[in-house]
Symmetry: C2
Subunit: 309 residues, 2 copies
């Protein structure tokens, strides 16, 4: 079983409030919820705001489903860094006798994993992952590189928790830049100001932090400190559930990592660099409910307008 | 490996056309695609049209993610009927040494399934499945029962194919009625007319068929013929890819199946009956492109208006 990350008493009681208000519905598995209509309206309102904010760049949208070819997880480096967070898809390849046995075991709610075999699909761990091989398949980048948009994509992180802000499956919206090194670095700087402004304009108390990913194991601690030292990741934090500062958006600079793996070349023939600006849509939505209250009718009119409520 | 359902030459060449037109992008796994911006615009336009068509009933929307508690698959009867279509989620529970071994096997693109264990989640096989336990948890139904709306939910069916209409993961939009027997039966009749009208108004050549689900094995053939005999399932078909008639919407009447399993009671204390009206959004979208051509600018203006294009 994966480590259960218990929420604080404030987080657990905030989750109960969200459920009572019809904003989230529990499914019986920690960190997996149904969203109620008003939660969804706020989430989609924010998603629309990101679309408008990114529009001047005219990003090309590619809408990937929540499943990724297993081959891509194997080549992306994810399994080395985050084996504990990955989810893989298994299926049944047996005959009628196997099916009957599997059903009998499953009906007793025992482990029927022995009847399942690994498929060629995994759950998508980040919205931008499927973009890189798709871009690579087109050949060299156009002059100036590419800006892409994942839309509101489901991603999976296996970290069950009773903190409502730590979901196992949620929507990540990413704007991604694939270009030469200098272009990606300056693009990231522009989005840092733009994202702070965007989230601040919704009445959120935003804090910027140079951050690191939750790398696995002892070797992971070195990766994390290198990532922080090189300022490859920053996060924007806002208070959720009793004031806990929680990352609601982040930006990663991958240097030539994906360019190397998928052999993405700039128009000039160099290895492309990549960077992304990611919004955790459920977390942004939770931060808005935490800041402005559970009844959207009482939210500041400027915020309501921006979200189209 | 699951059976690969090869598409006809017409279907395969239609898929190539869709890819060339930027409507779909292949991922390397059959039946898993990224949707391009214009494909997505049509899909969401249709989704909005369903919202407006269902509005007079004021259905209650609950937006579930594409993952379902494994327990629900075990109790729903799905594993008996469709073991071959189910997808289960596995994860890694090992230590650093296991992680290093797993990575080594995965990097050679061999089967690293031995390092993965079954989690408490599966892929959602139908949009309405998570609704039933959520409704049951509320206690007896209100007078007149409930009408629910899943929104555009991802569902998974493990049937890789080169027919673009047979995707492994796609959006199903369901309106679901949970009430007494007579109410559900007459509601289904109303939606039959409403759905035919809705799809016909988009210029699709619709055909209605009393149908059956793709039950597994020999016992499944008996289930299928009983389902057809009792007219528990009907489908609306439209031509896709070289004229093949393909189900783009369907309605199932489950009688007391889910009411029994989850102990859902009507206000009067009887076992609730359930029925659903489901639209396969990617298939509807494909049918529209098949009927009106790959360039939405040339579509009939009435159709464009209805879809908000």
């Amino acid at each position: 079983m994966p480590e259960f990350r218990a929420g604080s008493p404030e987080q657990v009681s905030y989750l109960e409030e969200l459920v009572r208000a019809g904003l989230l519905t529990q499914t019986g598995v920690a960190g997996v919820y149904a969203r109620g209509p008003e939660f969804e309206r706020v989430r989609l309102g924010f998603d629309g705001l990101v679309t408008r904010t990114a529009a001047p760049e005219a990003p090309e949208a590619l809408y990937f489903p929540p499943l990724l070819p297993r081959l891509q997880l194997e080549t992306s480096g994810y399994l080395g860094s985050f084996p504990h967070l990955a989810g893989t898809v298994f299926g049944f390849d047996g005959d009628e006798r196997d099916a009957a046995e599997q059903l009998a075991v499953a009906s007793r709610h025992e482990d029927w994993g022995a009847f399942q075999t690994m498929s060629d699909l995994v759950l998508s761990p980040a919205a931008c992952y499927p973009l890189y091989p798709a871009v690579a398949a087109r050949g060299a980048l156009p002059e100036g590189g590419l800006t892409l948009d994942t839309g509101d994509s489901y991603v999976f992180r296996r970290e069950p928790s009773s903190d409502p802000a730590r979901m196992q499956i949620f929507h990540m919206r990413e704007i991604v830049r694939v270009a030469d090194r200098d272009t990606v670095i300056s693009w990231r700087g522009e989005w840092r100001a733009r994202a702070e402004q965007l989230l601040g304009s919704l009445g959120l108390q935003i804090e910027l932090e140079i951050a690191h990913d939750p790398f696995f194991g002892r070797a992971g601690r070195m990766l994390a400190s290198a990532q922080r030292e090189l300022e490859l990741k920053w996060e924007l934090l806002a208070p959720i559930a009793g004031g806990t500062q929680t990352a609601i958006a982040s930006s990663n600079y991958h240097e030539g990592h994906f360019g190397d793996i998928y052999e993405i070349r700039t128009a000039g023939g160099d290895t492309a660099h990549t960077g992304c600006m990611a919004f955790g849509e459920e977390r942004v939505t939770l931060a808005l409910f935490s800041s402005h209250g559970l009844d959207t009718r009482t939210w500041p009119s400027g915020v309501r307008d921006k979200l189209g409520l």
